[in-house]
Amino acid sequence: MSAPFSAHPPPSARPKPARPAPHAPSLESVTTINEDGSHYKLHPADSRGRFLLWRRLSAWVLFAIYLSLPWIPVDGYPAVLLDVANSRFHFFGYTLAAQDTWLLFFAVTGLGFSLFFVTALLGRIWCGWACPQTVFLEHVYRALERMIEGDAPARRALDAAPWSGAKLARRLAKHAAYVAVSLVIAHLFLAYFVSIPELWSFMRSAPGEHWAAFVFVFLFAGILYFNFSWFREQLCIVICPYGRLQSALTDDHTLTIGYDAKRGEPRGKLGTAGAGDCVACNRCVQVCPTGIDIRHGLQLECIGCAACIDACDEVMTRIHRPTGLIRYDSLAGLGGGRTRWVRPRTIVYAVLLFIGAAVAAFAYTTVKPASFLVYRMGGGAYFVDREIVRNQFMVRLLNKRSDAAAFEVQVDAPGYVHRSGLEQPVTLAPMAEQVTPLVLTVDRGRYEGSFKFVVRVRDIAGQFTLQREVEFLGPDPRLLQEEDHDKGIKR
């Protein structure tokens, strides 16, 4: 390639490149994928500024949350423990059982509505500030790479350098650091499912004893290592479905990162007559982690990381021009108009979010710390003998609390129904469940056909009551009368 600042040679003399320089971003292809399909490894330059500072702070807060949740005990369990093996899910002292899986619906739709609303309003704020891909990549893996291999020019030089002892040492150090961090993240991830003490006992025993956990952690760490050492921005550009949905969720009034073309164009070196504020220094391109030129406008590769804002603001400050040539603004705002925050799209998404949140809040408050079920015992639906009509049920009681609780089972049925079983309160250990028979009988003479009754479970502490309606089944009473008549039994 000819030096970018030299005068263009006449077209005939310009050699046609075998492949266009991949690191010159264009709107027509993805910078990080070369014409031949190979991956172009980016070396984003360091940016400095207020957004980097805030992003780094928020990233460390997020790390702290991720690393500490399994260690904080709440009511005898880790703050978050997704105990898949026992189907018990603990969230800050709130325990859900497999029976409560329906609540997942509200969690998932709530996440969906929140993303809709936040995206319509603030664009890809999630991608740049909170997504684990960005947070781990920018603030851990790239930070390690910067520490071991130096800044962007040094890394490029190292890539181009022939293999030597020094290069090998740096590469080994970098990849060892990547592997170590990946293993820590993967182990902590497993701790969310098995708790820290359990994880520690897994780690001290032979891999064969808990081979599933072993394979999971090392496979997951391997995927993390591959993703963060090589794959990187490809995940955001090609795989992430949220990134692909952006164009359907945003409009001209959504907050994005953009270049103020009115102010910047035409570009020119400092001192060029008639030039706009953009001095064509290319800093915004050099710092971009997905390799785009933000001055081409909004592009699918932009993850809203604000590195170009910091880079441009730094240059503008140095040449004493107002900052904000590249800034957080809507397309309308960048075009000179006014951003409308309140608009049909944001109102509709906000209403959906509010309705979803209200219904979810209601649903979660209806969850009782116990659950029970009444079902028929195996065998016939009912039994008839000379004296009685009988129905046999099983009552399954589950204590979802982390301490023992006693329950009283009441049967709300007409007075002539005789009940047997569960006369005494049932005490259940934490997380224990018990199945107990409940037999109801009606004297043949008093039997008047099937009827419905209610089984009520009250906890002895008097905090809540659960109830279910059950049907007492039996034959048509006229059949019994005929049978009795035939046999000459007096009623």
Binding site: D36, G37, R295, G378, R390, Q392
Partner: protein, 197 residues
């Protein structure tokens, strides 16, 4: 989009696909190599898997895998179960306080509803559902192994549930031991085959 400054020149050598949808045309660019290798990898895997599973049967057929898993489960069950045809063993268990105590607990949570806490059932209260388990009269056989079969398989026509599948062989045997702890080996047994209801 309201701004498209600085359009880079289009590459003349890029092949433009002939179709146009909603005024949008597209280039025929090469897919990322990692994407292609993933595709080739899945193709290779499907051939290997098909060969190993369907043709060479290196991986056993699905039905055989299920049979094998079921056999493992039943082997595990058998290894923890008790010889339920051995009357002598039941009588020994019925004199072992550990077995009797765990049998009593199971009885008190599951059996009392019909046979009453006293185990006397109809013998104590004619309105009770289950028959007397203390007396020497039996409806479905009074030897230990017969009692075991009654508890294990139930008497569905009468409403006695099959408890074996619910509580397992060990607890069933413990309950039988608890019942036998109220009886003596060699006591006379009367079997009422037709109890009249």
């Amino acid at each position: 989009m309201s701004q498209t400054p600085n359009q880079p020149p289009s590459h003349e050598d890029d092949r433009l696909r002939p179709h146009t949808y909603d005024g949008i045309q597209e280039y025929d660019k090469r897919l990322p190599n990692w994407w292609l290798y993933t595709l080739y990898g899945t193709i290779v895997f499907s051939i290997v898997y098909w060969f190993a599973h369907q043709t060479a049967a290196v991986i056993p057929a699905d039905g055989a895998q299920v049979d094998h898993a079921m056999a493992e489960i039943s082997a595990q069950k058998m290894s923890t179960s008790i010889d339920v045809t051995n009357d002598k063993l039941f009588w020994e268990m019925s004199r072992n306080p550990v077995f009797v105590e765990s049998g009593r607990q199971t009885y008190n949570s599951l059996c009392v509803a019909c046979h009453l806490p006293s185990m006397r059932g109809k013998g104590e209260n004619p309105a009770a559902v289950g028959p007397d388990l203390i007396d020497t009269a039996w409806l479905h056989g009074g030897t230990p192994k017969e009692i075991y079969v009654t508890v294990d398989k139930g008497v569905p026509a009468k409403g006695m549930a099959p408890w074996g599948p619910v509580i397992g062989a060990k607890k069933t045997a413990e309950v039988v031991a608890y019942i036998l702890s109220h009886h003596q080996e060699g006591e006379p047994i009367t079997v009422q085959t037709n109890p009249g209801h």
